[in-house]
Each structure stands twice: as structure tokens, then as C-alpha cells.
Subunit: 139 residues, 2 copies
Amino acid sequence: MEELAVILKSKKLKVTPQRLAIYKVLFDTTSHPTAEDIYNALKQLLPTMSLATVYKTLDALKKADLATELNVGDDSSRYDSTIESHPHMVCFICGKVTDLHTNSLCEFKKQIQKETDFEIVSEKVYFYGTCKDCKVQLD
Amino acid sequence: MEELAVILKSKKLKVTPQRLAIYKVLFDTTSHPTAEDIYNALKQLLPTMSLATVYKTLDALKKADLATELNVGDDSSRYDSTIESHPHMVCFICGKVTDLHTNSLCEFKKQIQKETDFEIVSEKVYFYGTCKDCKVQLD
DNA sequence: ATGGATGCAAAGTGTTTGCAGCCAG
DNA sequence: CTGGCTGCAAACACTTTGCATCCAT
């Protein structure tokens, strides 16, 4: 799995086992883990790794446009390795944060851009409510 | 200015000078202040007031649906007394957070609701970029 | 060889909590 | 009078920083 290493190199980031592991966790999941989640997922594999390294690495990934930070409103930030902008859905019941792949966002942005003099560079869109699975449980 | 007191009472919140003052600051501004901003704005008027009271009051207002919390991505939360859901625009240059009054959000939500099985209860929408005033400065 | 990365501990920041005294209802 | 509110200090949770050591290049 050299793929990720190549990506890191292309962004002029040194490829260390820690970085590769952190990036891989983020890349292989859609669960939007927190720094602590990533740390916990890796501490068997890399017992000496520290939480500080996770934070520093996430920061490096963010700056290299390889990850984005989500602020869904709970105490800690979550991270996403899908950098194309997309809305997120946060379930009040199970707490899961899900990606929403849609093209309506694009139209919405265009509309807003038409209505205002604000130049949009990026956006964050969070929907809160009940996810599909939890809705079923409620019946 | 009994107005706000009446609102607080209608939500079964005790009307204290601190609460009234905090609510008034939030009600009279569109700047989306942080807890600390509110505290600073009031410490001449109410020198004994503590930051903890500001936090507790903001929490009470939130629970009574008289205020909402914004997480635009910087370190501290901002607050808004306009509770009807609306997007916010965050300027990268001046840092101002501005309300966006639009009805396109409603259509966007409808569209998303059509596309997914997620039941939307509320949402938070932030646009980041350059505001009107800062765009002028850049010329 | 060398500059950047790691990892530990300590510090920092925003927010919450416990509790005694106080005040609105 | 009574329960909720205030305000102080302490505790908390998440994140950042400093620095000596280490390692990818």
C-alpha cells in the first residue's frame, strides 16, 4: 500500500510510520473520527505514539489539503479525508456523522453567490436529525 | 425595556439583572459575540458578574430556544439570538460573521430531504470567504 | 548530515461544576 | 420562604507547545 506514501510525498511531507498509519485510518473510514479515536485505533500497532503526534499530523494533513476538520458542535473536532466539499448529516440518536453526496449543494451555492456580494471560498454544511437506521428503530 | 423580561418570563426563566443584560447584549447585536465578548461588554455595568454566569445564562437561553450556538471553527463558540435558521458567512480577512437571510436554504433542504432518508430537524450552514467590505479594500 | 518528526510533559484555552450565599417569585 | 441564580474557585476536556531525541531524505 504505497499509494498513501506517494500522496504524502507529493505534498512534501516526510513519510513516517506514524503519519502513514494516521492517514490510513482516516482514509479507510467514513466514520469521521476524532484525534482520540485515531489514537486509540493505533495504539496497539504503534504503542509509543502520542496523542500530540496525532494532532500534529492532522494539522499537517489539513494544511496539505489531505484532510478537513469538522465542527459538528460536540466538544472535539472530527476529521474527514474526503476533501471535496460535501454536507454532513449528524444523527441526534446514534451520534453518527455521515457524508452526504449530492449536487444540490452546488446549485445552492450558486444561488447564494447570486444573492450576495460575499465571495464564497469554502463552506460547511451540517444537517442534524434522525438517520435512516435510527428512524427504522423507532417504529 | 420590559420586552425582554416578558420573553424570559414566558419561558419560565427568572428575570435577574444579569440575565436581562446578557440577553439584551445578544438581542441588540448582529456580531455573534462569544461568551467572553458578552462578559467584557458587561463588566463595567455589572462589575461583579462572572464569566460562569454568562455561560450558564447562554445555556439557559439555548435550552429555552432564545439563542443558538455557532461553531464556525475558531476556538470559542459564538451566539446568535435570531433563532430562525439561517446560514452564516465568515470572512477570512476581517473575521466578521454575518447573517444571511435567504429563502434558498429552504429549497436546498427540501431537495436533500427528497434525496435521502435522513430526517432533518435542524441545520448549520457556514460560508467562508471574503465579505463585501473586504473585497472592496482589496482593489 | 540535517531539517523535520516524534513523544513526553507541561502549559494553555475555553467551558463546566460544586457550593455557599443571595434574590426573584 | 424556597428554589433557582450568582459568583468564586477549582476542576475539566481538548488542544498546543517546548524541547531533547530520533529518523527520513
